[in-house]
Structures are given as structure tokens and as C-alpha cells.
Amino acid sequence: MADEIILLDFLPSIFGMRVRVALAEKGLMYEYREQDLWNKSPLLLEMNPVHKKIPVLIHNGKPICESTIIVQYIDEVWKDKSPLLPADPYERAQARFWADYIDKKLYDLGKKITLTKGEEQDTRKREFLDFLKLLEGELGDKPFFGGENFGFVDVSLVAFSSRFYAYESFGNFSIEAECPKLIAWTKRCMERESVSSSLLDPQKVHDFVAGMRRRYGVE
């Protein structure tokens, strides 16, 4: 019995990239369907009536929404290959804690850099870098947040690296200068086929963010 997997997604979406990485880590075949977020398809509205957002994973006709929830679902269904969450409940709790914290903070911190100017932007940059430094502390000397193995927190965070060039460009600062360990970690992740094939090219992300800035009248 073959599994039917469809992913409703949007190429520059950080949240969509998480799901693409997880699917690739598990070696799963799926149908990717790019969505127009300014003209939402009937399928998207039917599969995610509550939030009307991507990503949505449709597995054998049943939808799962919210990227972190989708990644856990993928990990639980296809549990025999490349486990993303560790086996030990305490380690799992730590992984969920950090993934939750990244979810609560990082997207907005980054977005605010791209949509502000001057002094306000300086404050946003500082908050963003402080958050990344905290994550660096959590990474420590481990190759991945998951330890020896690429794991759940790595999946949650790595997609943001596709946006770093955009943040640096519009914020006029260098992330690597303050967070070299984190940038080293992103390069290590990009050596994985699952990551390099799932993340959108930083230049394309930059151009997308430039378009959003024009749309919001920041330029």
C-alpha cells in the first residue's frame, strides 16, 4: 500500500522548509504543490480552514497543519529511519523546549529587522543577535543541536539560515561576525542533502523579502 503524500507549501517559507527537510531526512516521495498566498486555493482553504496557512501535509487524504506538529507527525509515522527526536523523554522535552522557543521568537525578530529602519532596526538587530547567541550557547561544542545526529531542533532552526543573507543585507550587519559557531553549524547542515535540497537559495529569499518590503512600503 503506497502512501500518498502531498505538501501544500510556498518556496520562501521557513515553515515549509522545515517540513521539506523532515520529508527528505526520511527519504519520502511526495508531491509538492506551490501555493499562491495572495489567492488561496480551494484545496488550501479546505485542508486548513482554521488558519488558512501553509505548510499543510496531506497524508492519504488527511491534513496536518503547523510545521512543528507536521515534523513530529512525520517523525512518529516513519519512525524507523533517521529519528529526529531522541528516545529519552527528558532529551525529548529539551528538544521540544528549544523548538518551541525558536518558534515563539525568531521569525518575528528576523522579520522586524527587514521591516524597520534606523534606531528601531538597531534595536531589532541587537535582539536578534542576542537570541542567536543564546542558541549558540545551547549548541555548545556539539556538531548539531541533536548531539551527534541532526535532529528536531536542527530541523526547526536551519530553515532560518536561508534568510540570513536577507537579514544581513537589509540590516547592514554580519551575523557571522557575532555568531561564528552558529554559521559553522549552518554550513554543516547544508552539507546534508536533505537540507541543501530543501532550502531556497538565499538570493531568491532576498529578492522575495525585497518584494515584501516594497509591499509594506518600507523601501
Binding site: P49, E66, I69, Y90, R92, A93, Q94, Y101
Partner: protein, 226 residues
């Protein structure tokens, strides 16, 4: 083997109450450590340096923070009376609704309580939209978990006791029995379940606390220039 389970909580935090309910439902022995959140203990700050909040579960000396994370940890560590379903799809749905509760339902109902004028009207509309989704999700079950209380019920449990307190203080109906009959009946069933009923903060104290929060919010919004 000695199991040491401690729960750092405050007397009123609805997030900490989730953990109380989970521990009680599973019959896990624990020690409650009550924190004064205006004067946090060094131990709280040591166990949750990132958020500095309650609840914190400390199991054999190891801390876990964030109520959703703690609930899943409890369910994975003490397997009696499971809170989350076994089936991965049902688990994903439970997690989805729990997140919806906190991200949308709680924030809109809190705004409906704490804001005034136009902002309050808009919050009430948003709350009603969100409650409609929950009403639909009940689908004739007694609890979101089915026949017995589960993960989503515990996460949403604040609705069962806090909403009537909010309604009493602001004199507005937030969960109308006529519009949300299933949800309303769930609120009664949940609040009356023995473990829940025996583990709720005193209503009169809650009314005093939330009235004070509302008064402070009104004072600060009228003193700031708009």
C-alpha cells in the same frame, strides 16, 4: 527507586494548573512549590533561566519548563491513564487544537476581558470565531479526549473556570450557552470532574486578582496618551 517530583507553581497560574491536573489524573506523587511571582526564588531562576516562569516540573533534579512540553514529558514518562492518543494522526490533531487554544482562544478571550471600547468589541468577535471552531471539534464527544479527560481538555481547562470569572467582572457574555451549547456543556462537565473540582484556585481570590489586573490595565490605558 525514589522518584522525586516537584512542581513549581503559583496559586493562580492557569498554565501550572494544567500540570497539577495531569499529575493528579495519573496519580503521581509530587511536591508543590508555590512561588510568589513578584519575588521569584533563586531556584526558579536557576531551573528556568530562559523564561523565568512557572510551571516548572523538576523530576529527580532535572527541570522541564513550558506547559505543553511538561505535559508530553509526563505522558511519556508515566504511561498510566494516557493523555495523548496513541494514533499519530490523532496525536497531531490534539497538538493542533492545544496550540490553537493558546495562540488564538486564550489571546482573544484575554483581550475581550482586558481591553475596552472598540478593541474589546473586536476581541469578542475574534473570540466567537475561535470558539466556533472548538464547538465544531467537540463533535458530540463528552470531552475533547473522548470519554475521558485528555490533553486538549487539560490545555483548554482554564476556559471552564476563568471565563465565568471574566464574565462576572466585566458583565459580558463571552461563551454564550445558546451559541456554543456543546462547549458550554463541556465546561460544566470538566469543572465538575472530581480531580478538576478539587484542584482549582478559590473563586473569590481569583475574582479579586483579576479585577485588580483589569483596574491596572484601565488605569494605564487612560493615563497614556493616544
Amino acid at each position: 527507586m525514589g522518584e522525586e517530583v516537584k512542581l513549581f507553581r503559583s496559586w493562580s497560574s492557569p498554565f501550572a494548573l494544567r500540570i497539577v491536573w495531569a499529575l493528579e489524573i495519573k496519580g503521581i506523587e509530587y511536591e508543590a512549590v508555590f512561588e510568589d511571582l513578584s519575588n521569584k526564588s533563586p531556584l526558579l531562576l536557576q531551573y528556568n533561566p530562559v523564561h523565568k516562569k512557572v510551571p516548572i516540573l523538576v523530576h529527580n533534579g532535572r527541570p522541564i519548563a513550558e506547559s505543553f512540553v511538561i505535559l508530553e514529558y509526563i505522558d511519556e514518562t508515566w504511561k498510566q491513564v494516557p493523555l495523548l492518543p496513541e494514533d499519530p494522526y490523532e496525536r497531531a490533531m490534539a497538538r493542533f487544537w492545544a496550540k490553537f487554544c493558546d495562540d488564538k482562544v486564550l489571546t482573544s478571550i484575554w483581550s475581550a476581558f482586558i481591553k475596552q471600547g472598540k478593541e474589546q468589541e473586536e476581541a469578542l468577535v475574534a473570540a466567537a470565531e475561535n470558539l466556533k471552531f472548538l464547538e465544531k471539534e467537540m463533535k458530540g464527544k463528552k470531552f475533547f479526549g473522548g470519554e475521558r479527560i485528555g490533553y486538549v481538555d487539560i490545555v483548554l481547562g482554564w476556559l471552564a473556570n476563568l471565563v465565568s470569572i471574566f464574565e462576572e467582572i466585566v458583565g459580558l457574555k463571552i461563551v454564550d450557552e445558546r451559541k456554543f451549547p456543546l462547549l458550554y456543556s463541556w465546561m460544566q462537565d470538566f469543572a465538575e470532574a472530581p480531580i478538576i473540582r478539587d484542584n482549582c484556585p478559590p473563586r473569590d481570590k481569583m475574582i479579586v486578582k483579576f479585577k485588580a489586573l483589569l483596574d491596572a490595565a484601565i488605569a494605564s490605558s487612560s493615563s497614556s496618551s493616544k
